[in-house]
């Protein structure tokens, strides 16, 4: 019985040890995940903008643009964007 507990503990520790050892490597950097995520975000943004442009009318009124811009700036600053 004692033998089995030792063997079981070693097996569990081996798994968590492997996991811990692997976390020491910077996989995010290695697989360039941040770069891929940024690219996807940019592409999605462009895609949405295209859809909005096609389905809605774009208002280019300068007064409207500045007021919306100031609103967006306030929201972004408050949310640390």
């Amino acid at each position: 019985m004692k033998n089995i507990i030792i063997q079981g503990t070693i097996t569990i520790m081996l798994f968590f040890g492997t996991w811990y050892a692997l976390t020491q490597i910077d996989w995010i950097k290695m697989f360039q995940i941040q770069k891929v995520t940024d690219k996807t975000e940019e592409k999605l943004g462009e895609l949405f903008w295209e859809v909005f442009k096609k389905t809605e009318d774009e208002n280019k009124n300068i007064h409207l643009e500045t007021s919306v811009d100031s609103l967006v700036t306030h929201i972004c600053q408050a949310n640390d964007i």
Partner: protein, 145 residues
């Protein structure tokens, strides 16, 4: 990690085939139900239940196959639901996640190779005991005589 020992008695041809099938069952289930971690456990469980009244050699190997699948279920389920939460919720891919998936993959691969080896050996009539699972099976599965 894997020890080939002498069994209480010499298993017959029919017994060796059935014992080997219990490992094969889990291998086939891994291939068929790959993304879902529970499929191979269910397959080995069904095989185990249907062989409960079988000979000692067959019962022993069915139990070992089932136990090994049971521990893999914990590892794989955690990885599976972590992946699902990344896809469907706000969770993002982190270093910990990638490390976990790689560790789980290494353990699955080891188990996969060990299962193939054991399936071949038991088919030849050899008695193969795994590290930890073999000892655990010796406690759980006893000879009726």
């Amino acid at each position: 990690m894997i020890v080939t020992k002498k069994f209480n008695y010499e298993p017959g041809e029919h017994e060796a085939e059935k014992a080997s099938s219990s490992y094969l069952m889990s291998l086939i289930a891994i291939v068929v139900g790959l993304p879902l971690p529970i499929i191979n456990l269910i397959a080995t469980l069904i095989f185990y239940i249907s062989n409960r009244k079988s000979t000692y050699f067959v019962r022993w190997h069915c139990t070992q196959a089932l136990l090994s699948q049971l521990s893999m279920l914990f590892i794989n389920s955690f990885g599976f639901w972590w992946t699902v939460s990344i896809i469907f919720t706000d969770e993002t891919i982190t270093n910990k996640y990638i490390a976990y998936i790689i560790a789980a993959f290494i353990f699955n691969l080891t188990e996969f190779i060990a299962t193939i080896y054991t399936a071949i050996q038991t088919r030849k009539g050899y008695h193969v005991e795994w590290w930890f699972y073999g000892t655990l099976t010796n406690i759980l599965c006893r000879s009726k005589s």
